[in-house]
């Protein structure tokens, strides 16, 4: 409320009336008209003063004052544009970095699932499925019999929902003519109603749709926008998924992109039974899909607790049912085998995200918090320095009657201007940074800043504004009114120049800077180690893509791939071509025990019997450039009819064939159904990811193993690897126009994906370390320059009485080196704590890595030197006569 109803004119009118009434009265008591008027006026006193008091009491006045303060603040900031720009940019960097990292953290760790009442949603978990089962994830996936048994338990969940991707990555879809890829899940009929996700168009699924395996789909709002430009006519049209026509019947609410972190689901279909739409895109196993195959634990389960039930009650009710259903298709548990245990995990937030990004993000948040701290102290120091120089101005104003309140309001107005400008800049900076961060982190779900982020940023800004206004107040008032009477600014300012607080702050900033540099150094060395890790193959020139043909029989499948490889080999620039079931560097592996010479091997104490295996094509190791140490590579001549051949790595040979030649021995699957003779031993190489340790591996020949589904094609080409893709695509589509190249990329890029999280983390840490260094350098420079300028008179005196230039320079440098030493002494123990906290994110570097510490110390010292040189040179350039004459 700034408006008062009554105008100043009205008030003046009333006073005029008063004077007239008074004069009337006096006149009636016998005075002449002039006399009466004069007496009335004299009696009233100061009319103007009354009017002014009326005005000042009005609420307009306070707004007016605020505007005046702001105008004055702007004017005084315009007088020192360098200061204003530095302060604003520093604030923007500090606040912007915090907003950006907080947006990411908010999206990843804090934001809830976009469903109704997420607190009552639970993921189902188990400790370990029974022996003899195959799993996608030993803790998070379940078999169809388990799902079926649990959902029929009334009163536990209402409802229990299953969901399973149609592919480990993306699935081939076609809308209109062009084949493309999308992320799709098969889900329970109760999926949308159970989660409480609204549909913006069309309708969701029913339980009957699940029973009938209805060929209908709901697409995500994001996919609708991205692929269909929000065309409402898309409802009722067909989306071909792996060649199967599926009718689009609905569009899910904006923001809902599935219940798993990481990717974003584009479409959902009810649970299907067709071979083309098996779970995870796997080929049928012995003709059985995920429903019929009772020992394949592939479904993810999420449930909403039934009304009135808590977690413990639901687990207690379901545990016996779960343990019985877990052995469907397996018979009774083996002797001594512990049955699996069901448990529930909160589904409120995205669990995958918080495991993957939780710790790095918290570390980053702490880092940017430190950066903000440095930025704020910088601006405070700048303000203190500036206000120190303005002490005479403040003193004069106090002497002229300005109260402490008025000075505070003035400082508050200035800090408000700085913080507002800095905040606006920070918001723009953060938006940009968040987008970059999202792209680097490959987080596809929405990172757009929401209300929480806005509140966070505003909170930070308000804190900053108060801090910036209050911190310099002490200095502003310190002088008091009497300072105005002192004649020499130089003598008056010496106290401020030697301020102990200033030195403590600089030392602390040095310490913070050291901590950030050590953290950044450790992570960047980790990054180096990861990037320079030898993969054990010639990685350059390799390109990989997936193919998912629709194949009915084993011979047809082999024929398809033989045909495809021959076509690809014929392309110009292609050196060699092979296929594999599991893509290298995709983070996946097929692990199981293996028979050696007909029996499960006894392994030495402590080592594991687990072997990693892959099904590959001819010329596999030649194409990869992995050296064959003994025997030979797979060849085109290894066919379904020739003796079954297997290849092992060094680890396998050492563990299972110690001190003997493995060639000619037989190896086989755990169940003994497939046997093959070892024809080669290859050198250990990185298989699943860059930061793995080698474990025993075996490779089967694809033509000799009953598999028919998707394969990954690996090509070694001359020149730019990706340039081969258009002709490869053409070759594939000559065979079948429905088939896209799935996730084509260089093999190098595929491996790099396995360290993308660490790379991102290290780059960000490096960036924030650098930012801290820049800020500390700027702050130190500002402080030193200010201190030197305050000591001009003192230096003048010193030089007048015979100090040499070198001595003056040394005096200044020594000051800042002492501060650096103090900062290092405080910083190193703190950095050790940080290094310890980072330990799990490091690769090939110890938390106490001497090089990182040394570099950080050198870095801080260089910053101190760089920031001191200019002020020191300026100090040495002081002309003693001028310095003394200045006042």
């Amino acid at each position: 409320m700034f408006r008062r109803k009554r105008s100043a004119e009205d008030f003046a009118e009333e006073i005029k009336t008063h004077l007239e009434l008074e004069a009337d009265e006096l006149q009636s008591s016998g005075l002449s008209e002039d006399e009466a008027r004069w007496r009335a006026r004299r009696e009233f006193g100061n009319v103007r003063a009354a009017q002014e008091r009326f005005y000042l009491k009005g609420r307009w006045a306070s707004l007016d004052k605020l505007l005046r303060d702001l105008r004055f603040g702007l004017r005084s900031l315009r007088h020192s544009p360098g200061f204003a720009a530095t302060a604003i940019v520093t604030l923007a960097l500090g606040v912007g970095a915090n907003t950006a990292v907080f947006s990411l953290m908010n999206a990843v760790l804090l934001r809830s699932l976009p469903v109704s009442d997420p607190d009552r949603l639970m993921y189902l978990r188990t400790n370990n499925p029974p022996h003899g089962t195959g799993t996608i994830d030993s803790r998070e996936t379940f078999s169809y019999p388990v799902y079926d048994a649990l959902r029929q338990q009334g009163g536990a969940f209402s409802p229990l929902m299953a969901y399973v991707p149609l592919s480990g990555s993306k699935v081939a879809v076609r809308y209109g003519a062009d084949p493309e890829e999308a992320e799709g899940d098969m889900v329970s009929g109760t999926f949308f109603s159970g989660l409480g996700v609204r549909l913006v168009r069309g309708h969701a699924f029913t339980e009957r749709d699940e029973t009938n395996h209805a060929a209908i789909a709901v697409i995500s709002y994001n996919y609708w926008t991205r692929r269909f430009a929000r065309n409402p006519d898309v409802l009722g049209t067909a989306l071909y998924v792996n060649g199967v026509p599926i009718t689009i019947v609905g569009v899910a609410a904006e923001g809902f992109e599935g219940v798993e972190g990481g990717g974003s689901t584009d479409f959902w279909i009810p649970l299907q039974s067709r071979a083309e739409l098996n779970a995870w895109g796997n080929p049928l196993e012995d003709g059985k899909n995920y429903i019929a195959n009772q020992t394949w634990w592939c479904l993810r389960l999420i449930g909403r607790l039934a009304p009135g039930k808590n977690r413990a009650q639901v687990v207690a009710q379901l545990q016996p049912v779960f343990q019985r259903a877990a052995y469907a298709g397996l018979g009774t548990p083996m002797a001594g085998e512990k049955p699996p245990v069901l448990s529930l995990a909160d589904a409120k937030n995205f669990p995958g995200y918080s495991e993957q990004y939780g710790n790095p993000l918290r570390m980053l948040m702490a880092m940017v918090g430190l950066v903000l701290l440095i930025a704020l102290t910088n601006v405070v120091m700048l303000l203190v320095a500036r206000n120190g120089a303005r002490q005479r101005e403040f003193s004069v104003r106090q002497a002229l009657g300005a109260g402490r309140g008025e000075l505070l309001r003035q400082l508050l107005a200035e800090s408000l201007i700085l913080v507002t400008a800095g905040g606006a800049l920070a918001w723009g900076f953060a938006e940009m940074a968040t987008r970059l961060l999202g792209r680097w982190a490959q987080i596809e779900s929405s990172l757009a800043p929401d209300k929480t982020v806005l509140l966070f940023t505003l909170g930070v800004l308000v804190m900053a504004a108060l801090l910036l206004a209050l911190a310099p107040l002490r200095v502003a008032l310190a002088g008091g009114a009497q300072l105005a009477l002192k004649t020499s600014a130089a003598t008056a300012n010496t106290d401020a120049g030697k301020s102990r607080t200033g030195r403590v702050i600089v030392a602390l900033q040095m310490a913070l800077c050291l901590v950030l540099l050590v953290g950044a150094g450790l992570l960047i060395r980790t990054l180096r180690n990861l990037q320079n890790t030898p993969l054990g193959m010639r990685i350059e020139g390799l390109v990989v893509f997936g193919v998912k043909p629709n194949i009915q029989s084993i011979p047809e499948g082999v024929a398809f791939y033989v045909n495809l490889m021959n076509r690809l080999r014929a392309l110009p620039g292609v050196e060699s071509v092979t296929v594999m079931e599991e893509r290298l560097g995709a983070g996946w592996s097929d692990n199981s025990a293996m028979r050696v010479d007909g029996k499960l091997p006894d392994v030495a104490n402590g080592s594991s019997g687990t072997v990693r295996s892959n099904v590959v094509g001819p010329d596999f190791f030649r194409t990869l450039g992995v050296p064959v140490l003994a025997g030979r590579d797979f060849a085109d001549s290894d066919t379904a009819t020739s003796p079954h051949a297997g290849i092992i790595n060094e680890q396998f040979a050492q563990r299972f064939f110690p001190h003997q030649n493995p060639l000619g021995h037989t190896i086989g699957t755990e169940d003994g159904r497939y046997q093959m003779t070892v024809i080669g031993v290859v050198k250990d190489h990185k298989y699943r990811s860059i930061n793995e340790e080698p474990i025993p591996m075996a490779w089967y020949m694809y033509a000799q193993i009953p598999m028919t589904g998707a394969m990954q094609v690996e090509m070694r080409v001359r020149g730019e690897p990706l340039a081969i893709l258009p002709s490869a695509r053409k070759a594939l589509q000559e065979m079948n126009p429905n088939l896209p190249l799935i996730q084509p990329m260089t093999q190098r890029a595929q491996y790099d994906l396995t360290i993308s999280g660490q790379v991102l983390f290290a780059r960000l840490a490096g960036f924030f370390g650098f930012l801290a260094v820049v800020l500390v350098a700027a702050g130190l420079y500002g402080t030193l320059a200010y201190r030197v300028s305050m000591r001009t008179a003192e230096i003048g005196v010193r030089m007048a009485v015979g100090a040499q230039r070198g001595q003056v320079v040394w005096m200044i440098l020594r000051g800042s080196l002492l501060l650096t030493a103090a900062g290092v002494v405080i910083g190193i123990p703190s950095a050790m704590l940080v290094g310890h906290a980072l330990a799990s994110s490091l690769y090939g570097v110890k938390p106490l890595d001497a090089v990182s510490y040394l570099l950080a110390v050198v870095g801080v010292a260089l910053v101190a030197l760089a920031a001191s040189v200019v002020p020191a040179a300026r100090a040495a350039g002081v002309d003693p006569m001028r310095a003394l004459r200045m006042e």
Partner: protein, 123 residues
């Protein structure tokens, strides 16, 4: 400053008492500013000196607080004047303030009449 011949015998109003006096005056009926000043002076047997500038600022303050309300009207001798009247809220305040004032004057009286003789000024 307002002055009159017998100025020395008058007492400047205590802080806060002016509000009370204005409210009391207006209980008698609507009145304009000059009338309020005159009435206070008369009823206090010319002891109180009302600074007219302060009076109008006080009237405005009371109006802002909604203890009194104002309306332009015509005075008995046909001049346009702003007439103030007390509101229900103002009456409540008057009762309360009057009670406070009574307690204060009683307490002052008790101390001043206790016969301990004059104390040093700073005590």
């Amino acid at each position: 400053m307002a002055t009159r011949e017998n100025e020395d015998d008058r007492i400047a109003l205590l802080q806060g008492t002016l509000d009370l006096l204005i409210l009391k005056t207006l209980v008698l009926g609507p009145c304009h500013g000059q009338g309020v000043a005159r009435l206070i002076q008369r009823q206090s047997e010319e002891v109180f000196l009302v600074d007219h500038g302060s009076l109008y600022v006080a009237l405005q303050r009371l109006e802002d607080k909604k203890w009194i309300r104002a309306k332009w009207g015509v005075s008995e001798n046909n001049r346009k004047a702003r007439f103030y009247s007390i509101t229900a809220k103002g009456r409540e305040q008057l009762v309360e303030k009057t009670g406070e004032w009574r307690r204060l004057t009683r307490a002052m009286g008790l101390i001043l009449d206790s016969g301990n003789g004059p104390q040093s000024e700073e005590a």
